[in-house]
């Protein structure tokens, strides 16, 4: 008989190994799925994981795109991981991402067409503030009224989406856009454009910020008392309280910071790759970042790697769609499997598998 026995604390070995196992199992299960769809499984997996990096035809374009796609995922996931570690669940990063983009783009459009170096820094500030403010709503409601931050933050995503639609049609609409919804294209406004720092690398200011945030999060969690408090609050709320951690302060810090980082991601996206505020500006980075945060084991370096991996499945998945004719839904199922298997394998991190010789009672 096999029995699961709870470990006193999660196994370090399994915690490190499960993401790798999850990726491998996803490849196998995905391969089976693709084979059932009548596609060559090996070729499919190669197209998703190998071609964007090393195929001569695509790699030059796809490699920088990895950074472009991974940047916002990493930035948002880092913020989320702080809260997740402390048991504070911000599910509404998508809304904070939108709020940051609207505020940042709003600042840019208010200055248009002023050509000054000050515009971009102000936009960054506004983006962070917008996301922070949107994240502070569930924080304040939780502190003051004890509301559930999961529900409030998630519901605020839909509020933000309506707000986005209203902005695209009203206040921020391009006056020269023939009446079509959507703002001016910020890529065509040099003072506000989030351009590549080194041309052709995909490395724009948002990706740079994401890398800096990885370092900052690492230092915070490992070298700073606040990081210790966050971890403590997640592992043992009672002990945390004895150690003098103030729960309201922690809630405000985690939701505020993750909101600000999501807002920054939105700002860099709207000023860079997306270019404009439009009704369907948001494409789900805020939700995908939840997968990235867990896949990266809520660890800054892990999140960096997980973000890049997730970006790879997006870009490779697109390649597989039009090169091999795989349906979009199959690629989404493939990405979903990743989280599914990860959570499945996590049993081994938290439990020990024991063979019990059955005794006759």
């Amino acid at each position: 008989m096999i029995r699961l026995e709870k470990r006193p604390e999660p196994s370090r070995f399994w915690t490190a190994v499960t993401p790798v196992l999850a990726v491998l199992t996803t490849m196998i299960a995905g391969g089976v799925l693709f084979a059932m769809l009548g596609k060559d499984p090996l070729e499919s997996i190669r197209t998703i994981f190998w071609d964007p990096l090393f195929n001569a035809q695509f790699a030059d374009f796809a490699r920088p795109q990895l950074l472009v796609k991974a940047g916002p995922l990493i930035l948002i996931a880092l913020g989320l991981s702080l809260g997740f570690r402390a048991g504070i669940w911000n599910i509404g990063a998508e809304g904070q991402y939108i709020a940051g983009a609207i505020c940042g783009a709003g600042v840019a459009l208010a200055f248009y067409p002023l050509d000054s170096w000050i515009v971009f820094p102000l936009m960054v500030l506004a983006g962070a503030l917008g996301g922070w403010a949107w994240g502070m709503i569930p924080a304040l409601l939780k502190i003051r009224f004890g509301t559930n931050e999961i529900l409030v933050s998630l519901m605020l995503v839909y509020v933000a989406e309506q707000f986005l639609a209203s902005m695209s049609l009203g206040l921020l609409r391009n006056p020269e856009g023939h009446g079509f919804p959507g703002s001016r294209n910020l890529q065509e406004y040099p003072a506000a454009a989030n351009t590549e720092i080194i041309a052709g690398t995909g490395m724009h200011w948002g990706v740079m910020t994401a890398f800096l945030a990885v370092i900052a999060a690492y230092v915070l969690l490992n070298r700073h008392i606040l990081g210790f408090h966050i971890r403590l609050a997640g592992q043992s709320p009672r002990a945390a309280r004895f150690a003098g951690v103030s729960p309201p302060l922690l809630v405000a810090f985690c939701l505020g910071t993750s909101g600000a980082l999501a807002g920054l991601a939105g700002l860099f996206e709207v000023a860079g790759p997306a270019g404009q505020i439009s009704i369907d500006f948001n494409v789900g980075y805020g939700f995908t970042a939840i997968i990235v945060a867990f896949l990266g084991r809520l660890h800054p370096v892990g999140i960096l790697l997980a973000g890049l991996l997730m970006a790879l499945t997006y870009i490779g998945g697109e390649l597989a769609q039009f090169m091999l004719g795989l349906p979009a839904a199959a690629i989404q199922a493939f990405q979903g499997m990743l989280l599914f298997f990860l959570l499945g394998f996590d049993v081994f991190s938290n439990y020990r598998v024991r063979r019990v010789t059955s005794e006759v009672a």
Binding site: G170, H178, G275, I279, A328
Partner: protein, 358 residues
């Protein structure tokens, strides 16, 4: 004479060889879709056009497609990768791909692009669209005749000119058929989201609408109408024949196949040039699906007569006198709308209640 002859033979030979080489190397045609190919509406019809291209040209073309591509930064990447993969001609089939199409076209001057429903063109970017409003006029007439509650529900996607034009055309002809008609308009802010579309239809039906018109891509509104009973609707972008004879009493079918075949042929012949095409019922890009027995014979005759007069050019769906919503004159008696105004239409006509989101 002789050397000249030789030269000509050589030229003919090399041309023949080049032709043979071209024949072996199929023209690669890409399609970018905003919804899944199984949406049963907009994307489904574009994909039918793609399949028609494959069938028509056989081995001479290779087609690739990508479905459910978000409008925005992702579209630009998908287009770039498609161009990198060696596509010669790419159709981008949603309004929101406009900037992405133009941006990528700049980077790949040798690749031809065709953008549906947009207005930005370049040497290697054409635009094409269909005069759906012609079909909307016919639907409006049927809707006006058939409604008993005098309430018609309309599910809009985005308040862009194409959609506003459809609302205005439907409303004008519904009012002409029945002066008591009122429109309730709901904006879904999506092209394809069956759950949202069903919710919108449900809400409109609960408010008393017994006709549902839609400018979104899925069959969900028709499914909601069927469930409610006593409510009719129309196939949008595709025939949606599975809901015949009721709730679907007729449909607008977008037939892209002839245009796609035409443009692929132009690339093969080397005669492709940037252009702007806006075809209607006359050219066959807009088709009116079967008007079912749920519609009284008399109304069907009227609808078909309307279709004929639009196709022949005898009647323009936007013929004055028409006032704007605020009461100001748009078209005087007998005046017809020019394409420029239609393409940028950002106002409701008189009689529609509610504000156009701005």
């Amino acid at each position: 004479m002789k050397p000249m002859h030789k030269l000509l033979t050589a030229a003919a030979l090399s041309l023949g060889l080049a032709g043979a080489a071209a024949a072996q190397d199929p023209v690669k045609v890409g399609f970018v879709y905003v919804g899944p190919i199984g949406d049963g509406g907009w994307t489904y019809e574009h994909n039918k056009g793609r399949l028609a291209v494959e069938e028509h040209f056989g081995d001479a073309v290779e087609t690739v497609y990508q479905e459910s591509v978000p409008e925005g930064a992702d579209a630009e990447r998908v287009l770039t990768q498609m161009a990198l993969s060696g596509a010669d001609l790419i159709f981008t089939t949603s309004f929101g791909y406009m900037d992405a199409t133009v941006n990528v076209a700049k980077k790949f001057p040798d690749v031809k692009f065709e953008h549906a429903t947009g207005y930005k063109r370049a040497d290697n970017v054409s635009t094409y669209s269909a005069r759906f409003y012609e079909g909307r006029a016919i639907q409006g007439h049927i809707a006006g005749k058939l409604t008993e509650t005098n309430k018609i529900g309309y599910i809009g996607s985005f308040p862009i000119p194409e959609v506003v034009r459809g609302i205005n055309a439907s409303f004008l002809h519904a009012r002409k058929a029945n002066p008591e008609v009122e429109f309730s308009i709901v904006w879904a802010y999506t092209w394809f989201d069956p759950a949202k579309e069903a919710d919108a239809a449900q809400a409109l039906i609960e408010q008393g609408a017994d006709v549902i018109m839609q400018h979104t891509d899925s069959t969900a509104p028709l499914a909601a109408a069927e469930k409610a009973g006593g409510v009719i609707g129309f196939g949008q972008a595709s025939d949606m024949a599975e809901y015949k004879p009721e709730p679907r009493v007729s449909s607008i079918i977008d037939n892209w196949a002839p245009y796609y075949i035409d443009r692929v042929q132009a690339v093969i012949d080397g005669t492709w040039e940037s252009q702007d095409v806006w075809h209607g019922i006359d050219e066959g890009m807009v088709e009116i699906g079967e008007i079912t027995d749920a519609v009284p014979a008399e109304v069907r005759e009227e609808a078909l007569a309307l279709k004929e007069s639009i196709a022949s050019g005898a009647y323009h769906p936007f013929t004055g006198p028409i006032n704007k919503q605020d009461g100001s004159v748009w078209l005087a008696e007998g005046e017809t709308a020019d394409d420029g105004t239609l393409l940028g239409m950002d106002f409701y006509v008189e009689g529609i209640t509610g504000d156009l989101p701005k």
